[in-house]
């Protein structure tokens, strides 16, 4: 432990954030303003998520931090260290063992349980932002439930690309009321938003917190004749062989060679430990940071 207050933030700040979180849980999908603090990291690196995590952490928690599905990238490592140092909590890479998971741009493949909290880092909380630049107007649109504009965006997608080309930050309607930006998760993850875990969204720069309570109804917006499709790369993981997980495409040489690997590194490792092998698992090149494939 260090000279920091537990989890870096002072108690009054945590109290303020907790109140915002409670309000957000009471009105699912509604963006609650909060007095976001300066954090010892740049905006865009998860200042919102970190504040929400700090407000939720208790000494008994076991923390997992994901960055684009991986536990070992810069963002994940630095935030995990941050809480190791300032809160002294245990950390883990295993989804199943974690009680609090802070994530950037992914939802773990393994279904979450009622004992877990998932905290998202959100760059732009306003789903209508790029359609309507005025904040006064977007707030009015939310309060009056005027969401026709979201469909204009989807219409434009189909008109231009023949299908709904929005592949991440895909807008959802929560409990039939608020349209919400699920943060830049791939739309493959959208069905997982209906979860047993508490899901909290923190946007530090934009000073907003919103939330999904457990088993909240979350519908991805679409057209009747162009229904929502949670798409992924049409391959199986080259390391663990899973054909149901979300995949990253990795270029492995300069001759057009490529491999597909699970974006969720913990899920992939777990499967390999259980004996599942993919196309390149035994002999082929291993993905960065995953030395001993199988």
């Amino acid at each position: 432990m260090s000279d920091y207050n537990f989890a870096y933030l002072d108690e009054q700040t945590k109290r303020m954030i907790r109140r915002a979180i409670l309000k957000a849980l009471a009105v699912p999908g509604y963006q609650v303003p909060f007095a976001s603090r300066e954090m010892p990291m740049p905006y865009g690196w998860g200042t919102g998520g970190v504040q929400v995590s700090a407000a939720c952490l208790v000494p008994e928690d076991r923390l997992k931090v994901i960055d684009q599905g991986a536990d070992d990238t810069t963002n994940a490592v630095s935030i995990r260290r941050f809480f190791e140092r300032t809160a002294g909590v245990a950390t883990t890479g295993r989804t199943r063992d974690a009680t609090l998971i802070q994530t950037r741009h992914r939802i773990p493949e393994e279904p979450l349980t009622r004992d877990q909290i998932l905290v998202y880092q959100v760059p732009i909380p306003e789903p209508l932002r790029f359609l309507e630049p005025r904040e006064t107007e977007t707030r009015k649109m939310h309060s009056l439930e005027e969401y026709g504009l979201v469909h204009v965006k989807l219409y434009e997608d189909i008109a231009r690309h023949g299908q709904i080309a929005t592949s991440y930050a895909y807008p959802v309607k929560v409990e039939g009321r608020y349209v919400m930006d699920p943060s830049p998760i791939p739309k493959f993850d959208n069905p997982k938003l209906e979860s047993a875990a508490v899901q909290l969204f923190g946007a530090g720069r934009e000073q907003r917190i919103y939330a999904l309570p457990p088993h909240c109804k979350v519908v991805s917006l679409d057209f009747e004749d162009h229904p929502f499709v949670p798409s992924k790369a049409d391959h199986a993981c080259d390391l663990c062989g899973s054909d149901t997980s979300y995949l990253d495409e990795v270029i492995v040489d300069d001759a057009g060679g490529r491999m597909f690997v699970c974006s969720d590194t913990d899920y992939c490792e777990g499967r390999r430990e259980a004996g599942h092998l993919g196309r390149l698992a035994a002999s082929g090149p291993s993905a960065p940071g995953q030395e001993d494939a199988a």
Binding site: G148, L149, H151, Y155, I158, A159, E224, H226
Partner: protein, 256 residues
């Protein structure tokens, strides 16, 4: 017959200055009312008050709604008013850039009002958009182009299509032909006249162009310094102006 729109004593002040004062008129279904006057005479203020863009200081604007009959628009709640504004009402801006979404394709622009009232079938929306582009004489292959790629006249026609797609009963137009050259103006007027007749629209048209009101409007109000100085049938007012200002206005038109 109940008037579609009844305006009683509508007043809007900007501090000590008058925007428009004590304006009253009735508009019947299928009727087109023209409002003329010089710049700063309060015609746009009046139109914005009618359309609910400005909160008027006093007066009543009673609209004959489909469901509940005549109701004072100013006493409606904001959701009701906005609902009205995207179903039964339409507003055509002078500058099409104010009324269009410039970053969205022509089809998306026309479809927006449909989607705002709950249309969720892409094929239907696109079909209606195509139909409307055809009615305002925009080629079907321009449907996926953005309005930025359109000429001024096309933008204005697109704005009209976008506004009329939900079948409104009352259209407010603020200088719909302003900034267009005369031949384009003539086509647009032709189009408007056809649409008004075909759809049985009522309209309030603000303009400073007397030729436009002569063509489109059944009745005419002349405004000066925020007050209505003369009102009557269009031909009557233009051919036999009674008020000094109207006489000046009519005699100021250059003969080509």
């Amino acid at each position: 017959m109940t008037p579609l729109l009844q305006v009683k004593g509508l007043t809007q002040r900007y501090g000590a200055r008058i925007g428009c004062a004590d304006v009253s008129f009735d508009l019947y279904p299928g009727e087109v009312m023209g409002i003329v006057g010089e710049s700063g005479s309060g015609k746009s203020t009046l139109l914005n008050c009618l359309a609910g863009h400005l909160e008027a200081d006093a007066g009543e604007v009673i609209f004959d709604t489909r469901v509940d009959g005549p109701r004072d628009v100013r006493a409606m709640s904001e959701p009701e008013r906005r609902m009205l504004a995207r179903t039964d009402w339409a507003f055509v801006h002078q500058n099409p850039r104010d009324g269009l979404r410039m970053g969205v394709s022509a089809g998306g622009n026309v479809g927006e009002r449909l989607m705002a009232v709950g249309a969720r079938h892409y094929g239907d929306i696109r079909g209606q958009a195509l139909d409307w582009l055809d009615r305002v004489e925009i080629a079907a292959d321009r449907i996926d182009d953005r309005p930025t790629a359109f000429s001024g006249g096309m933008q204005q026609r697109l704005q009209i299509a976008r506004n009329l797609v939900t079948g409104p009963r009352l259209v407010f137009m603020d200088e719909p032909t302003g900034g267009l050259d005369v031949s384009v103006q003539a086509r647009l007027l032709d189009l408007l006249r056809g649409l008004v007749r075909e759809m049985g629209l009522s309209a309030v048209i603000v303009t400073h162009d007397l030729a436009v009101v002569r063509l489109l409007a059944h009745r005419l109000m002349v405004m000066k310094s925020g007050h209505v100085v003369e009102a009557g049938l269009t031909d009557q007012v233009l051919d036999d102006p009674q008020h000094g200002y109207t006489q000046l206005l009519v005699s100021s038109v250059l003969q080509a």
